[in-house]
């Protein structure tokens, strides 16, 4: 993978709004933004109600993903262009799902809603009608998803990349600073994890930094190219953004997203936790 295959620019998107075989999909946790105006022709996916299992703590399974995309009129051979708010966090999360379930051609709109807004590009409130399809998802590709036991075993062995803010990493904050701080889990980070906040991979307008800047960022943070990598954050969406950078833009092999992330790890009984700005020892 590379930037050329995984990303499209806002200019390209605006020129291809009516190109057959392309489906623009806005993905957000709060979909009121879509309702207030979206990229012409785009459908919406609600990260919480469409992409999470309504009962268990997990995301939609293969059958649920098939039913969702069939209902929304997405075909297996469509090129899916994902975008959203929050610097594309949830769009990157959805991208990871599409990859996990084996979708052929999926891309992110570089800069997402923010770049589109700052460029003063057009919105519409018209909701497109798409005919239902019969979408077939593949069995989940677990080579890109990490579970907790694997994360505990990776301490001191694999690259663990904590992509939360420095204060969350150190244990001074429990959540991003736009959310209340009262949370159930303990504060801190997984011992030996390096801190590379997701925001360092993005420009102010939400677009990804250049390949050279991104390669330098992770190299200077101490990522070891000879090891497998697991990225995590608090609930797995910011780490999808960094997973996208490492796997899809920079083309690293064996990069997994730990979607359980800190809300799971910080609640586990008996696992090691490191406090402060240093990675800590295994």
């Amino acid at each position: 993978m590379s930037r050329d295959t995984a990303l499209v620019s806002a200019d390209w998107a605006e020129q291809n709004l009516n190109t057959p075989g392309l489906v623009f999909v806005e993905v957000d946790e709060d979909t009121t933004a879509y309702d207030g105006g979206h990229i012409p022709g785009a459908i919406k996916l609600d990260w919480k109600t469409d992409l999470q299992d309504p009962v268990r703590r997990d995301f939609v399974n293969q059958e649920q993903f098939e039913a969702l995309l069939s209902d929304r009129g997405v075909s297996n051979d469509d090129t899916v262009i994902l975008y959203g708010g929050n610097n594309n966090w949830f769009a990157a999360y959805a991208y990871w799902y599409f990859k996990l379930y084996g979708h052929g051609d999926v891309k992110l709109l570089d800069g997402g809603r923010k770049k589109w807004e700052l460029d003063a590009r057009p919105y519409t409130k018209d909701v497109p009608v798409r005919e239902k399809t019969s979408y077939t998802a593949q069995a989940p590709d677990l080579s890109i998803r990490a579970f907790r036991d694997e994360v505990v075993e990776a301490i001191g062995v694999k690259n663990l990349v904590d992509v939360r803010s420095p204060d969350e990493y150190a244990g001074r904050l429990l959540a991003p600073a736009h959310l209340p701080q009262e949370q159930a889990q303990r504060a801190g980070h997984i011992p030996t994890a390096i801190s590379v906040p997701w925001s360092k991979a993005a420009n102010e307008d939400g677009t990804f930094k250049s390949d050279e800047e991104l390669a330098k960022l992770y190299a200077e943070a101490g990522i070891d190219d000879s090891k497998d990598t697991i990225a995590y954050c608090r609930i797995g969406e910011r780490s999808s953004h960094s997973w996208f950078v490492l796997k899809e833009i920079l083309g690293h092999q064996n990069v997994k997203n730990y979607d359980g992330s800190w809300t799971e790890y910080g609640s586990l009984i008996g696992v090691p936790v490191a406090l402060g700005d240093e990675p800590g020892k295994a």
């Binding site: 929050n86 966090w89 700052l118 959540a175 209340p180 906040p197 969406e237």
Partner: protein
């Protein structure tokens, strides 16, 4: 839009009242409105909270009334607003409780 919960990570509705579950004895809330040079509210602006070293900490989108809100910690912060009408920046010192600030953007 419901009150923010641990399940989500996106910025909650910025115009909603602070949820009753939020303990203002413990939280450091930084809130205010983004206005343009004519003192009109700017909706849909991106407000970024940068820490004392200038590092990005959080970002929210302003409400239809131009309102933004962060849950931070006592200390020095920089607020930076980006919008289709221009950008603006302000350095502030926040204490526990509600810290109210105004932020102006200009091209």
């Amino acid at each position: 839009m419901t009150a923010p919960t641990a399940a989500g990570c996106a910025a909650p509705d910025q115009s909603a009242p602070i949820p009753a579950s939020v303990d203002l004895e413990k939280e450091t809330v930084i809130t205010g409105a983004v206005v343009n040079a004519d003192n009109e509210a700017v909706a849909g602006a991106y407000v970024r909270l940068l820490d004392a070293t200038g590092e990005f900490t959080a970002e929210v989108v302003t409400s239809p009334q131009g309102v933004f809100r962060f849950f931070a910690a006592p200390g020095t912060w920089t607020l930076r607003a980006l919008s289709r009408h221009g950008n603006g920046e302000l350095k502030i010192s926040a204490d526990r409780g509600i810290n109210e600030v105004g932020l102006t953007v200009a091209a």
